[in-house]
């Protein structure tokens, strides 16, 4: 039996997208979606359509930029890449996420003991 697929936590999608772009460099929407599915080993339930408003929001904040380009199989696609301030933001958010995750883990651990 496959474990139930988790919803993407509120606010984590931004971090996931930023991290993906940081790891793989410029990527189109489809590529980002594929990568997320791949990494989460299909445990994460992602409505791929929700990626686009999120990408727009990140772009409006100035953390990523977009450019029309041509994909591997000769298709026109919009490529997103991380900006300098996006990289900074990723570092900050990753740190705060780790801290938060640590706290949660400690909390749960304390509960278990």
């Amino acid at each position: 039996m496959t474990p139930p697929r988790g919803e993407v936590l509120q606010g984590t999608l931004d971090l996931i997208v930023l991290k993906t772009l940081d790891a793989l460099g410029p990527l189109h929407g489809y590529g980002i979606a594929q990568r997320i599915q791949q990494v989460s080993e299909d445990l994460l339930k992602l409505n791929q359509g929700t990626l686009y408003p999120a990408l727009l929001r990140l772009e409006q904040r100035g953390w990523i930029t977009s450019k029309w380009g041509v994909s591997d199989n000769n298709r026109k696609a919009k490529y997103y890449s991380l900006t300098r301030s996006g990289r900074k933001q990723l570092a900050a958010e990753a740190e705060s996420w780790e801290r938060m995750a640590g706290i949660i883990a400690r909390l749960l651990g304390a509960e278990g003991a």
Binding site: G29, Y30, Q48, Y52, L56, Q60, S71, N73, R75, A77
Partner: protein
């Protein structure tokens, strides 16, 4: 920072909506394509792959919607959409939109314009710091319209000013003075005490005030310039304070410049302030001394009644020597400076303000009524929208947007109208309304009236959206909104009530104006031309020169063709401003002098013999003046009828001997009695008066002169000749030529202004009430079409239907009229002092106003009600 960038790119997105939509489309399409290809690779069929891709992607439209919300400014998007829709809705019913917008515009425009005028008079603070502490004080006597003090008592009083922190005085009025250097010019000079500026709290913007030493008699003269004189004549010269100018030929050192917003507390003109230079010694000796206008600043914590109480002992002392009868007529007065300035303009201002506010109420009611009517008609539309999933808040937003659009359009038009109306008001306003020239369109007022209109529009526009639309509406059945109908009828009743009050007030003022314009003057004004001429000190320093000028002018005018009579006089009826004395000062030969108080004012004029024929004043007894009466040896006098009766109740006045002013003046013989003439304005009863012959005697020469010409020709044509005759004698003399009719007409200017404005508001109010009535009845008929059809099918006659509708109209019309009658009755009291020979509660006028209003209301009701009579039962039953 990041938030600002967010807003910035959203703003950009807002304008780039179309291209970004296309971008997204392309992106989504390629994404789906890739997903599909991937699925095919995994071994799905094309159809399977496609639907799986769609599943994985999620809702395409939802994505686009979310994306759009993220990319633009959704609030503004919705607003734009609502506005577009509102514009379409309004355009669909242009009649409704036009009436609503015009009503709002007229209401906002009229209110803003009138308020901008009266605001200066009633509310705006005077240009002095802590102006609420400033008062005008002194004695009030029957012979003077303003309070005054006499120099002999003032010089003592100023040493111990009792309840006042500071007091000051000035000479009444301003004097003409000429700057006699380079290009000479006639200016107004005011004589003020050294304490004048400090008491008012005014500091010169340049230089300084006078010193105590400069405010003494026989020291070198100093002067303060008004800001406008400093700018216009001296080009704003910063070094002006060291300069010396020549005033009426004498050297005067300029010591300071007044602030730009400075104005005299009397509102009189003043280009230059000069020291009053009161001679204390001389004032004390020469009882009663100079007449002074006195102003003061109250001590903190002291109000006007307490100041009056505090002044009482001093007042008793100052009048100690006067006979008790005289003291009865004189009273002490302390009044706020603003009250002194506005005097009778105050009541008229309140009248205008309240009538325009009443009018605004009628206008708002009308708009409310229109919106309610339309709202009822749109219930079905709202029900459909609600059924299709529009949320309540969306419906509210939609209806409010429509109302606000009306409000904004009406308001914008109203602002333009206010500007035009204000200009109109200022141009038709009579002279003597204080501060009229300062009236500007007041933005606060515009904002306020705008707000009132918007709120009333929004409020009444909201009503339909707030209640949940009944589902029955969807199948086309009307739900009778009885509550709302009741509200609409109340609104029309209120309109009728307010209009009636306005109409009754306008009726009273118009009637009073008619009385005023037809009041007998006691003289004939047809074909009479008058010229007011004043000769400057500079060109005519000697009285003899002035006399020569007038003698020459008289002779020249007599030679003109078409002249019947040419006369000179120092003043002209019917305006006041003649020279006056008191009755007690006239001494009759052979009669002991009775000291019964002042006996009231007695006016007098110096005239040439043709005065009576020029003005058509009949001589009742004896004769008029003759040429010989102008000889220095002759001492004759002519009395007015009232004065003659007062002096000689039982005897023939002609031949009696009189002496004037209880001084060394000669005994004069009464040679005639002239009929009474209105001589103190149109409102007041005629004062008793007497006439002395105009002699070529420097001692008795009056300061100003009027030439009166009666002609056989059109006086307007003669005016040009008269002007050229004056110009030939001396082209620099300013002369005001007016026909007698114009002069008299001017006196009724102010009542006419009030009456015209109030009538205008009343007429517009009645018109709006009629529109409201028309709308409500038309709506009722439309709503009851089915009921009417049933009634007619059951045998009701058209006349019966009409009666049924008019009966319901009558109910709220009469209730409105009753309220209005009560209101008119109560408010008439306030008008009382503006009325001339009309009773405030004139039953005929009030009845007439009611009749007019009822007639208008029924005509407005009858037109749509007739439609009910023509209802075809078959059509009506299938209606809806």
């Amino acid at each position: 920072m990041s938030r600002m960038r967010m807003f910035g790119s959203r703003l950009v997105g807002f304008f780039r909506k179309l291209s970004s939509d296309k971008d997204l489309d392309a992106e989504v399409r390629s994404h789906l394509q890739l997903l599909t290809e991937e699925n095919i690779r995994r071994g799905m069929s094309l159809d399977e792959a496609r639907s799986a891709a769609r599943r994985e992607f999620g809702g395409v439209e939802q994505t686009k919607e979310l994306y759009r919300e993220q990319s633009g400014l959704p609030f503004i998007d919705a607003l734009l959409q609502d506005t577009r829709f509102a514009v379409r809705m309004l355009a669909k019913k242009p009649g409704f939109a036009l009436v609503a917008i015009l009503t709002l515009a007229v209401g906002i425009g009229a209110t803003s314009a009138v308020f901008s005028v009266v605001d200066r008079i009633l509310f705006r603070s005077l240009p002095y710091p802590r102006e609420d502490r400033l008062v005008s004080f002194g004695l009030l006597a029957p012979i003077e319209s303003h309070d005054f003090m006499l120099g002999s008592s003032y010089v003592d009083f100023r040493k111990q000013p009792g309840p006042f922190e500071a007091i000051t005085s000035m000479a009444p009025g301003s004097i003409d003075c000429d700057v006699t250097e380079q290009s000479p010019v006639r200016l107004s000079c005011a004589l003020v005490e050294q304490t004048f500026l400090p008491t008012l709290g005014v500091t010169p913007i340049l230089g300084r005030n006078f010193t105590k030493d400069e405010d003494r008699p026989s020291v070198p003269r100093v002067a303060l310039l008004s800001y406008s004189l400093w700018r216009s004549r001296y080009g704003g010269d910063p070094g002006i304070c060291r300069k010396t100018i020549f005033l009426d030929g004498s050297a005067t050192q300029i010591v300071g410049v007044l602030p730009a917003n400075f104005e005299m507390p009397t509102l009189g003109p003043a280009d230059i302030l000069l020291p009053l230079a009161l001679d204390e010694q001389q004032q004390r000796q020469s009882q009663p001394g100079r007449v002074l206008r006195t102003f003061a600043r109250l001590k903190p914590g002291i109000d006007v009644p307490r100041a009056i109480a505090g002044l009482q002992p001093f007042f008793e002392q100052a009048l100690g020597g006067a006979p008790p009868e005289l003291r009865k007529e004189i009273r002490l007065s302390v009044q706020a400076l603003r009250d002194r300035q506005v005097q009778d303009a105050r009541l008229a201002s309140w009248l205008l303000l309240s009538s325009v506010i009443a009018f605004l109420l009628v206008a708002c009611t009308n708009v409310a009524n229109l919106l309610l009517a339309r709202a009822t008609g749109r219930q079905r539309e709202l029900a459909v929208r609600a059924a299709l999933g529009a949320s309540r808040s969306r419906l509210v937003r939609q209806t409010v947007t429509e109302s606000l659009l009306l409000g904004v359009l009406g308001g914008a038009l109203g602002c333009a109208m206010a500007q035009v109306l204000l200009r109109l008001l200022v141009s038709i306003a009579p002279e003597g309304i204080p501060r009229l020239e300062q009236a500007r369109l007041d933005l606060r007022v515009v904002a306020f009236t705008f707000g009132v209109a918007l709120i009333s529009a929004a409020f009444f526009g909201l009503a339909p959206a707030l209640q949940h639309p009944a589902p029955e509406l969807l199948i086309g059945r009307e739900v009778r909104a009885t509550v709302r109908n009741f509200m609409r009828q109340m609104l029309v009743s209120a309109q009728i009530a307010i209009s009636l009050i306005l109409l009754a007030g306008a009726g009273l003022l118009l009637r009073s104006l008619w009385n005023l314009e037809n009041t007998p003057l006691g003289m004939q004004t047809e074909n009479v031309l008058t010229e007011a001429i004043s000769l400057g000190q500079y060109r005519y320093p000697k009285v003899e020169q002035q006399l020569v000028f007038f003698a020459e002018l008289e002779a020249r005018l007599k030679r003109l063709p078409g002249m019947i009579s040419v006369a000179l006089s120092d003043s002209l009826p019917p305006s006041g401003q003649m020279r006056s004395t008191i009755f007690a000062a006239i001494e009759v030969a052979g009669r002991p002098h009775a000291s019964e108080g002042t006996g009231g004012a007695v006016g007098w004029r110096a005239i040439t013999p043709e005065y009576f024929s020029a003005l058509g004043i009949p001589i009742i007894q004896g004769r008029g003046f003759q040429k010989t009466d102008r000889l220095p040896t002759e001492n004759t006098i002519i009395l007015s009828e009232t004065l003659a009766r007062k002096l000689f109740p039982n005897a023939d006045p002609t031949g009696q001997q009189l002496r004037l002013f209880r001084m060394q003046s000669p005994w004069r013989t009464v040679v005639g009695v002239a009929a009474d003439v209105k001589n103190d304005g149109l409102l007041a009863n005629a004062d008793p008066e007497f006439y002395l012959p105009w002699k070529n005697d420097p001692v008795e020469f009056p300061s100003a002169a009027h030439v009166i010409v009666r002609t056989r020709m059109n006086p307007r044509a003669v005016a040009a000749w008269v002007r050229s005759e004056v110009a030939e004698l001396d082209p620099t003399v300013p002369v005001t030529v007016e026909t007698m009719r114009q002069r008299v007409g001017k006196l009724a200017d102010r009542p006419r202004f009030n009456a015209v404005l109030l009538s205008l508001f009343a007429a517009m109010g009645v018109l709006l009430a009629a529109i409201g009535m028309y709308g409500v009845v038309g709506f009722l008929v439309a709503q009851q079409t089915r009921e009417i059809g049933v009634r007619m099918a059951l045998g009701a006659s058209p006349a019966g239907i009409l009666k049924m509708i008019l009966a319901s109209v009558a109910r709220w019309t009469f209730s409105g009229a009753a309220m209005g009658l009560l209101g008119a009755w109560l408010s008439a009291r306030l008008l009382e002092s503006l009325l001339f020979q009309v009773r405030a509660h004139d039953p005929v006028l009030l009845g007439l106003a009611v009749l007019v209003l009822l007639a208008v209301a029924f005509v407005a009701a009858w037109i749509p009600a007739r439609r009910a009579m023509r209802v075809d039962p078959m059509v009506a039953l299938r209606y809806e």
